[in-house]
Symmetry: C2
Subunit: 386 residues, 2 copies
């Protein structure tokens, strides 16, 4: 692909227009029902129909073009049918830009992992997965069809198919079984989606733990089903960076180049750089918002704990040169005071900063790709980011 080459893919509910390429890295504009998204993109996570501590206007002001919602949580509370009745998740949550929802599978399987003593909480069969609500213990069944219906009720712009995210330490036998279930469910999902003529885009998910041959098989199969986009799952649950990057090396060349590629659950800056270099377009991660609530901030110089005593009388902003609301108006000393005192404004400010950091980081990545300086940018970034 040459410098000015542009390819347009028009699939049912998603357009993906590649703008520039630099090696495998590329910038593009993804058009969804609720608007356009510039990629590579980081999607803030709004688990329960809100990105924790943030208002939608604050999200817009930091440059967020798409957020993620969690099907598992919203299905259980307040319920996808209630949200549908209220006009869909966008209207319910007063967010007018695109929303990607996961399938709920990851949460269900995490639940199983987190409760090893009570393995019965999660039961997997070829038909789907049964689980108990973490809220009230009630039993529920997720099938490939049902999770699409739920996401359709939510009004998602991009729905994810049900997959089994096997633990990183799974033996090969289990990894294969989980992958094959994932494939079976993916086929059922795409067939169901065609029948129902959903107005949302639907992404398939590649699994295979860290076994190269399984990853290859999974990438080829999922890609063959011709989803609107392809995601790579199972690489954000504690694998070594080496295994993660090797899996990306195996998988990415096998996914259609003219469709968006989404590396699920990954959000560490160094991992994003490695993935973008290999051709990934979309990312999400709870870390920037979660660590903000523990007082940790991300800067281009690395992470800082704002509760550290050394910031007690520090008049500087969280990060010099940052254009976020927190950095434009408050000192580290004040942010530290708020965090130590347990004041909500403290975690509002660290969250705004961290998400704005992610947006600035992605803006810089896109700009570097557009000027074919991605590798240089990556090196410079990593030299500063310690």
């Amino acid at each position: 692909m040459g410098r000015f080459c542009v390819r347009i893919t028009s699939v049912s509910n998603l357009k993906f227009k590649i703008y520039k390429k630099d090696g495998q890295a590329r910038t593009a504009v993804m058009t969804l029902n609720h608007g356009k998204v510039s990629t590579p993109v980081f999607m803030p996570v709004g688990t329960q129909g809100t990105v924790k501590t943030m208002s939608p206007e604050e999200l817009t002001s930091i440059g967020s073009e798409i957020i993620l919602g969690n099907t598992y949580h919203l299905y259980l509370r307040p319920g996808d049918k209630l949200i549908k009745k209220m006009g869909g998740l966008h209207r319910f949550a007063h967010w007018n830009r695109p929303i990607l929802t996961d399938s709920g599978g990851f949460q269900v399987f995490s639940l199983g992992l987190a409760n090893k003593s009570k393995k019965s909480l999660v039961k997997i069969s070829e038909g789907g997965v049964t689980f108990q609500s973490h809220l009230d213990g009630s039993r529920h069944l997720f099938t490939p069809q049902k999770v699409l219906d739920i996401q359709n009720n939510l009004g998602s712009d991009i729905a994810m198919v049900l997959d089994e995210c096997a633990p990183g330490k799974s033996d090969k036998k289990y990894a294969r079984a989980a992958m094959e279930r994932t494939h079976l469910w993916a086929k059922q999902a795409i067939d169901y989606a065609k029948k129902k003529k959903f107005k949302m885009a639907i992404f398939g998910i590649v699994q295979g733990v860290t076994y190269d041959d399984l990853r290859q098989e999974s990438a080829e199969y999922i890609n063959s089903l011709n989803f609107d986009g392809n995601a790579i799952g199972g690489l954000a649950v504690g694998e070594s960076k080496e295994n993660t990057y090797r899996a990306l090396d195996v998988v990415l060349p096998l996914l259609d180049k003219d469709k968006p590629r989404y590396l699920m659950g990954v959000g560490e800056p160094e991992d994003i750089l490695e993935a973008v270099e290999r051709g990934v377009d979309m990312f999400d991660c709870v870390a920037p918002t979660r660590i903000a609530r523990n007082g940790q901030v991300i800067t281009f110089g690395g992470k800082l704990n704002m509760m550290n005593a050394k910031f007690k009388t520090d008049k500087e902003p969280i990060e010099k040169g940052c254009d976020c609301y927190a950095c434009q108006n408050y000192s580290r000393a004040y942010v530290r005071h708020l965090l130590i005192a347990g004041e909500v404004l403290g975690i509002r400010l660290t969250t705004i900063h961290n998400l704005r950091f992610m947006m600035r980081f992605m803006e810089e990545i896109r700009s570097a790709i557009n000027s074919r300086e991605f590798i240089r940018y990556k090196k410079n970034f990593l030299r500063r980011y310690v």
Copy 2:
């Protein structure tokens, strides 16, 4: 005072210009170092240098012209000297409008009451009051002079003198002793303030529990000291409404009419109406923000608990006709969902609504006074507010 009569009082760091009167109720503009305040006014409480969950811009957008800071809390954490070093509380907290700070006395005495088993936590003498920090148990002394120095370090627009807020059930002997200490401290405070030439306005505080003769004696004495304004303390700690209103009847006629009068800690709408009718200009209360964090909202029809199941699919805003950010953009169903799910945005929205309610309520009160319809307004308000 006739309809168009205007009186101007110019004292050192406060101007109080009465605009209209309706009976004893009056509207005025109070000019302080950081700007003008229309009275009668409700002051949101920002205990630890932040009005809980709110940004300064949100406070401005709801029409808040002055907020209150708590000297006790800020002295202990992060410390008044640190705040002075950081350029004062306004700069530290990114709030450019007036701030009133209390003396810290009320918190110290509340601490004593809350720890009846450990009476030694608080020791009162003629020289001041010693207490232990609720944070680390360290011992501290507040004197009439020291609390002014602290408030001066904070950069307050209005400082309050140290007083002893005796419990509502104090016997007359204790009530008199506390009142006499309050008077002694008030005299020391005004003498110290004159000597130091503070640039902040300073208010005296009338005490006397619910004994009419003590209230009268206190009002006369405090008024004679010629503070920039006069406050009435000790009427927000569980007294009956009857006793509170009778105390106001005794005290208010004895306070200079051309100076602001501040009823401390009172914020229930019905109490505000009774006090405004008797000539009070300023109010503060933690209730609107505190109950918001429990999911309770204030409307012109009374209080509602937004977590109630009946709001589960309610598409209406918290309060129809309200112009606040919460009511303009979100349904009761969504606010309920956020509160039930423990999401910060939920308490941000209820807090914004409750404080905007208080601002709208005070706007209506001022408007009613200006058109000499206060009594009618009060009746109409109380008929709706159940």
